[in-house]
């Protein structure tokens, strides 16, 4: 089952690649859509067949792969990872649709890159073997590097190289940690590592090694600087995947590696992590306020929201952790939607500057309604998914420290301020210039894409139980595991 979720999109990607150059662009698009939808369909049984009563790994697959290093092709999902696989497959469908008309050069390669990346990201979430995880983790950089570099904006080369080198630096230190754990335990199995006794200094060093890899991906302040560059230069689809899924991979890494492998190290470093998270929430929120570029603003908003996620993880209680997971899923929908909204505007105006817009609502009322909903969700309005996660994390935090919770809650103000202010400047007011006057409202394809996301955002906001019940057992199990010392 899990193999299908990983390899079906990759095989579809290779098939799309085989359609050749842009003379067959139409075929490539259709094939890519079929592949993406099929990829999403095969991931649905993971949810419907998921056993809610256990925290164990489900849909496990195990086969020997590299005997020399005792590496196994070991896959499995629990309540923490299963939703991300669905999110990835879902987002891929949207991305393929979003790039339908906009991408005109090297269509097959563009579509194939997203499909292959989708399979690799599913692999990251499903891998239970250290090397298998690392292979997927690094391999997904390759398509993203090409997406930014080939289809990106003005400064794409700089952004692509920065993206790749930042992540590679962190990842390689993690690789050393993985090999160290292998030498210590004689196995690359992540579940074996969870039970491996380690001294405090070992745990702290391992924590730092994992931290470099995951913090860059999240991204946490101060290693976040690659993200605004990458987001601004990437094509819309690239930004969506980056924000919706790739950032989650980092936070997921903390939950799968740092916490269970080095619980004492995590407790020792918790103060440090909480500080960085709060800086991200408050400081980056303020940075977002002054951005003149819409994509950059959403990028900073993402960093600020991901600060919430890491805060929720490192306060070590059920509210915080479930809140963090809900926030991750919800941010996947919302940030993806916001980037798609900016993409819709950019496709028509070829500008991302807030100053170039104004009065868009007069020409694009349907679009303005969607944009409004996602802007509200981004600022955490109750009834949208953005509220649930933030509320749960603040609830969890207030049990630990009022002061932390107070700082975290400022995001409700800053978030509303930067999002709604941008929304006001872009959408409301009189028609600003001739270019805006010539805008046309969104077409059926764009309505489908944004509509699907709107349903997800509202559904999760009004009735989050289908999401939280899946993660419940795994989160509790992880928390009790982290509470036990490994010394």
């Amino acid at each position: 089952m899990l193999s299908w979720v990983i390899w079906l999109p990759i095989m579809a990607g290779v098939a799309v690649l085989a359609t050749g150059d842009d003379r067959n662009a139409k075929l490539a698009r259709i094939l890519a859509l079929v592949g993406a939808v099929a990829g999403f369909l095969v991931s649905i049984p993971l949810y419907t067949g998921f056993n809610l009563m256990t925290a164990d790994m489900q849909f496990v697959e195990m086969a020997p792969w590299i005997e020399t290093f005792k590496v196994n092709y070991h896959l499995g999902v629990d309540g923490i990872s299963v939703l991300f696989i669905l999110l990835t497959s879902f987002t891929t469908v949207l991305v393929v649709l979003a790039g339908w008309k906009v991408i005109e050069k090297r269509v097959a390669q563009y579509m194939a890159a997203f499909l292959i990346m989708s399979g690799l990201m599913n692999g990251v979430f499903a891998a239970l073997d250290g090397i298998l995880f690392y292979v997927f983790w690094e391999a997904m950089l390759i398509p993203m590097f090409l997406i930014i570099g080939v289809w990106g904006g003005q400064n794409r080369v700089y952004a692509a190289l920065k993206f790749f080198l930042y992540t590679l630096t962190g990842s390689l230190l993690m690789l050393v940690a993985l090999i160290y754990l292998y030498n210590k335990s004689g196995s690359f199995d992540i579940l074996v590592w969870h039970m491996l006794p380690l001294s405090l200094s070992e745990q702290v060093l391992l924590f730092i090694a994992f931290f470099t890899a995951f913090a860059v991906k999240v991204p946490m302040w101060p290693v976040h600087t690659w993200l605004p560059d990458a987001h601004v230069e990437a094509p819309t689809g690239g930004s969506v995947v980056l924000a919706a899924i790739m950032l989650k991979v980092g936070a997921y890494g903390f939950l799968r590696f740092s916490l269970p492998i080095a619980p004492d190290g995590s407790h020792a470093m918790a103060g440090f992590m909480i500080t960085l998270s709060l800086i991200a929430v408050v400081y980056i929120g303020l940075v977002a306020l002054v951005q003149a570029d819409m994509k950059k603003l959403i990028a900073y908003s993402s960093i600020s929201h991901m600060g919430f996620v890491t805060l929720g993880i490192f306060i070590f209680n059920a509210y915080g952790m479930e809140g963090a997971l809900v926030q991750m899923i919800s941010h996947g929908f919302i940030s993806g939607a916001l980037f798609l909204c900016v993409g819709v505007l950019y496709d028509r105006m070829h500008s991302r500057q807030i100053a170039d817009y104004g009065g868009v609502v007069n020409k694009m009322p349907v679009f303005a309604a969607f944009f409004m909903l996602f802007a509200m969700a981004n600022s955490g309005l109750p009834g949208t998914s953005g509220f649930v996660g933030e509320f749960m994390v603040i609830m969890g935090t207030i049990k630990v420290s009022f002061f932390y919770a107070f700082l975290a809650a400022t995001t409700l103000i800053f978030g509303a301020a930067y999002t709604l202010w941008m929304f006001k400047r872009v959408v409301f007011g009189a028609v600003a210039n001739d270019h805006v006057a010539q805008l046309t409202d969104i077409n059926a394809r764009e309505i489908v894409v944004l509509g699907l996301l709107a349903v997800a955002v509202l559904g999760m906001g009004i009735y989050p139980l289908p999401f939280t019940e899946v993660m419940h057992h795994s989160v509790n199990n992880l928390l009790s595991h982290v509470a036990q010392t490994k010394l």
């Binding site: 590299i66 692509a160 590679l168 630096t169 090999i179």
Partner: protein
Amino acid sequence: MVFAMPNLTPALPEIFVLTMASVVLMADLFSGKNRFVAYMLTQVTLLGAAWLTVGTSSGEIAHTFSGMFVDDVMSDVLKLMTYIAVSAMLVYSRGYMQLRGLFRGEFFALVLFAMLGMMVMISANHFLTLYMGLEILSLCLYSLVALQRNSSQASEAAMKYFVLGALASGLLLYGMSMIYGATGHLELDKVATAIQHGEGNRTILTFGLVFLVAGLAFKLGVVPFHMWIPDVYQGAPTAVTMFIGSAPKIAAFAFVLRLLAQGLPTLVQDWQGMLIILALLSMAIGNITAIAQTNLKRMLAYSTISHMGFLLLGVLSGNNGGYGASMFYVLVYVMMSLGAFGMIMLLSRQGFEAEKLEDFKGLSQRSPWHAFVMLLLMFSMAGVPPTVGFYAKLSVLNAALSAGFVWLAVAAVLLSVIGAFYYLRIIKLMYFDAPQDENRIQAQPDMNLLLSMNGLGVLALGILPQPLMALCIYSIQHSL
């Protein structure tokens, strides 16, 4: 005086290659202008040598020539890989050499003699055999570099290579003679036993070791004995550069292993420290200097230096797992190196050497498939999964960590990030930039096929690295 005829079976491949090299030389003389005869004869020789190597392999360690020569699993595997590398080199270079008027009989004869030297090095069990193999190889390489007689750049490179190479050989001989003086033996196994029994003056042994390691470092091309590599790589015709950058690395690896792991295992404490310094310097200087290069051949030269530093990480761990990791690394490296130089020759035309980085601009628009092959090769060199280069790095890092050098592994990965930059730059040129050169890429079908296989092989071995890895570990375990 009774003269016992030595058992020739273990040395049959060498004898065959020697004979055929002479035959090629003669055949070329009488085949007139048609050099294709010599080319095919050389390929047939490689095939025959492979057949003989497989046929005479017994899975056990067989000594002959009074213990001067050894035939074991490791030597068989390494020789087979050498044949494959040389054969691939010949296929790649055919078109290139024809266009430059270098497709001549002496090219093939020199290549075969050089390969004979490599085979002797791989199978040597004695200081003198090792040295003899090395000299056969080196002398052929010096003249190969100078093959393009009218190029002053090539002559300069050859001269530099020769002078420095002779110096290194001298160092090596000096080291060998010191160890001979201390132990009274020249045969590797006997030297090892003698040192183990505490024979020999420690100071002389250590001094000898220093000279040996210096000589080895020169032949491998690791810092600070790397000065010849960039000049030779740049100055030689690309086909010869490809030759120097591929098969001889296998022989050099065998040379290091025979000398250090087989001959001086009890001095591991001493040579380990030296190798750490060499490895660290090579990875640092190789990777950092490569960034500044605008000439692709020169860049690949510095990349070789850093790769050889990585290779030493496995050797310096001083155990069979580490030697196996290094063996895997060298085989993978040779494969990537062949592909990368193959790409340079693919883009070269009559009177045009595609050795500037800019020549790769926009390759993905000129030829998507070739760009993809180069992409795989570059990611593999950078050690990014799912290409085989990642597993090579993984193996040697694991070897260093299992020997307890965590800091060395951390330094190695940080330096490899620097390395990733210049490989990524080539991908950037190919994919992100617009093409400058609109000439159609012409390649013979055999070269195209081989290049595709080379690229896909990097990917296929990256998805299923187990067979080659197991082969390396197996051959080390059954030979040392």
